[in-house]
């Protein structure tokens, strides 16, 4: 087990800068998820930590030791790949034992460690099979088993669940979380799936275009997104963005359709400025007799059973999504009165995307 520190880590491929400087301190036993859209540099960052890519600038330290020039095998890490990368010609047992065999671990100990890992992952019955005789979920377990037997300081996961079907993904997600609770090994997990990120992470690193947008616990990032990007990336359905302008007294913000939404804190400094207003669909509630903040013209209703997603408009450019609990009888064309808690309104700078 070990902590990992990234200090001003940059990566250039030729003249293309793909990572613009990442600083992060990952503590011992922490489960960190790096999340972002494809091409944001998250996998490259992970591969640099693994030692599969060279660091152009900055330092990566594992357990207090800078490992920029250390071979992957000497970094005391184990990695789970997206396509599993199992050795097709070896049995499950040999796949898991290979790393130990190379390191010259005695046979009896290999047997014992593989059996223990197989036990944890419930793949004891599959040890003599070849990878091609396994299902996707089983292969994924073997890939994790290969990492576990090594008992490394850090686990690295590179989108390990992307090749699984939706149901299995949810199941494996839970298992990875449980596994981490059992082993308490520092883990760094890369994904583009925000649900995976939110459910697994102790802390999240949200990346966009080679830059870290925000680092924090999932709930912090959800409730207090630092930038427009983080706000839009986390949460499903995604946050509504409307163009608005802060009123002269800084107490409310004007939305399309003549709606005035009150703000929880006065934004005197931003008074009169055009801003982007972010409202999560789940924070819009039916007025149910209370004075409505806004009235939405309903365009489309999606009944999901547990909740109802309502697509609609306020005024001319104000397209809104509202997520209402339960199955509510709303019809297309209705005028839907909604209330909005002032503390749930996020304001973002139009130019920089930074939270105001």
């Amino acid at each position: 087990m070990a902590e990992v520190s990234l200090r001003g880590v940059k990566k250039r491929f030729g003249t293309t800068q793909v990572i613009h400087g990442v600083d992060c301190q990952i503590s011992d036993g922490e489960f960190i998820v790096i999340v972002g859209p494809s091409g944001c540099g998250k996998s490259t960052l992970l591969r640099m930590i693994a030692g599969l890519e060279e660091v152009t600038e900055g330092d990566i330290a594992i357990a207090g030791k800078v490992v920029n020039q250390v071979e992957p095998k000497d970094r005391d890490i184990a990695m789970v790949f997206q396509n599993y990368a199992l050795y097709p010609h070896m049995s499950v047992y040999e796949n898991m034992a290979y790393g130990l065999k190379i390191r010259g671990v005695p046979k009896a100990e290999i047997r014992q460690r593989v059996d223990r890992a197989a036990d944890i992952l419930q793949i004891g019955a599959l040890l003599e099979r070849r990878p091609r005789q396994l299902s996707g979920g089983q292969r994924q377990r073997v890939a994790m088993g290969r990492a576990i037997v090594r008992d490394p300081a850090v686990f690295l996961f590179d989108e390990p669940l992307s090749n699984l079907d939706a149901k299995l993904r949810v199941q494996m997600r839970v298992e990875i979380r449980k596994l981490h609770q059992t082993l308490r090994t520092t883990s760094i997990y890369v994904t583009h799936d925000q649900v995976e990120a939110m459910t697994l992470a102790d802390r999240l690193i949200v990346m966009n275009a080679g830059r870290v947008e925000q680092i924090g616990t999932p709930i912090t990032l959800y409730e207090d997104p630092a930038t427009l990007f983080v706000a839009g990336f986390l949460g499903s359905p995604a946050m509504n963005f409307l163009s608005g302008a802060v009123a002269a007294d800084g107490q409310s913000v004007a939305l399309p359709g003549g709606v005035q939404a009150p703000l929880a804190t006065a934004h005197a400094a931003a008074a009169g400025r055009p801003v982007t207003v972010g409202i999560r669909p789940e924070h819009l509630d039916l007025a149910e007799g209370a004075p409505p903040t806004a009235t939405m013209k309903v365009d489309l209703v999606e009944l999901l059973g547990a909740d109802t997603i309502v697509h609609g408009r306020i005024g001319d450019g104000g397209i809104l999504l509202a997520r209402i609990d339960g199955a509510v009888p709303i019809r297309t064309g209705d005028d839907l009165p909604l209330v909005l808690a002032p503390e749930r309104v996020h304001l973002f700078d139009r130019e920089t995307g930074a939270r105001i």
Binding site: A50, P72, N83, A85, H89, I102
Partner: protein, 281 residues
């Protein structure tokens, strides 16, 4: 595959049987001729019933050769076997290593080397035979196993085949071995070779037959009868000048010449077919 019924099936079978008969008939005639006496062979038309001199003809061929060319075929078979095996194994070893270097290592002029290897594909043995002969003779390798085999070992085709195969192996597999702690040669031995084994088997069959059937090169560089390969041996037996060619013995030699390649094909058939058709190894 859709199973045909009725006329279609019979027609398919008829065509197949005719095809096999066409291919097999000359071999059968060879076999019959190898079991007759010379005068029986020279009867026109030659009988198609096997005669009674089978063992006699084969033992003459194996242990003494024809009267004009008194080299025992057993020795020729051994020479051919050495040549075919060394060429097949050598070609596979060299190609595996050079494909490994070209695909997995970054070194200056990597692609230049690759294209140099590739370009030699366009130059068949016959084109470079004079310079090669000069080199081999200057190195004093005439009439030796080294001279028979070494110049034929370099293989662009096999290198190219292995390169193409290595390129289909996912990068993650290489990275997984790096993280597992295997160095390049360990990766080569533990992962690449086992994954290539069906390709190796298929190539071995092809290259063994290639080596076995070599004609022009051994004809040029061997003058000593003790170094004759079986293909050359048959040719020498036919060059009997004014004397009567001993057809039964020549035919027996031909049959003997066919046995090792057939054996290799039959023994490796399963692997061979797998190597050619299997995508999942």
């Amino acid at each position: 595959m859709i199973e045909k019924k009725g006329v279609g099936m019979w027609l398919t079978h008829l065509v197949l049987i005719l095809g096999i008969a066409t291919v097999a008939f000359p071999i059968y005639v060879t076999f019959v001729a190898s079991s007759l006496t010379l005068s029986e062979v020279l009867d026109a038309p030659m009988t198609l019933v096997p005669g009674s001199h089978l063992i006699e003809n084969y033992s003459t061929a194996l242990f003494s050769g024809t009267q004009m060319n008194a080299t025992p075929v057993a020795g020729m078979l051994f020479n051919s076997l050495v040549m075919a095996l060394v060429i097949a194994v050598g070609k596979i070893a060299i190609s595996l290593l050079s494909a490994f270097a070209v695909v997995y290592f970054r070194f200056p002029f990597r692609m230049v080397f690759f294209w140099m290897i590739f370009i030699t594909l366009m130059l068949p043995v016959e084109v470079r035979i004079l310079p090669t002969f000069k080199v081999v003779s200057d190195l004093g390798m005439l009439n030796s196993y080294a001279g028979l085999t070494v110049p034929l070992i370099a293989s662009a085709t096999a290198t190219f085949l292995f390169r193409q195969f290595f390129m289909t192996i996912p990068d993650e597999l290489v990275e997984a071995t790096k993280i597992d702690g295997a160095g390049p040669m360990r990766f080569f031995r533990d992962v690449l070779i086992p994954l290539s084994r069906t390709n190796i088997a298929a190539l071995f069959v092809i290259l063994f037959i290639y080596g076995w059937n070599q004609y022009l090169w051994p004809l040029l560089i061997t003058t000593d009868n003790a170094m004759d390969t079986i293909v050359i041996g048959i040719k020498r037996m036919l060059a009997a000048g004014d004397d009567q060619i001993e057809w039964p013995v020549v035919m027996a030699t031909s049959m003997l010449a066919m046995i090792p390649p057939v054996f290799v094909v039959v023994a490796m058939q399963r692997w061979f077919v797998k190597g050619l058709v299997d995508s999942e190894k």
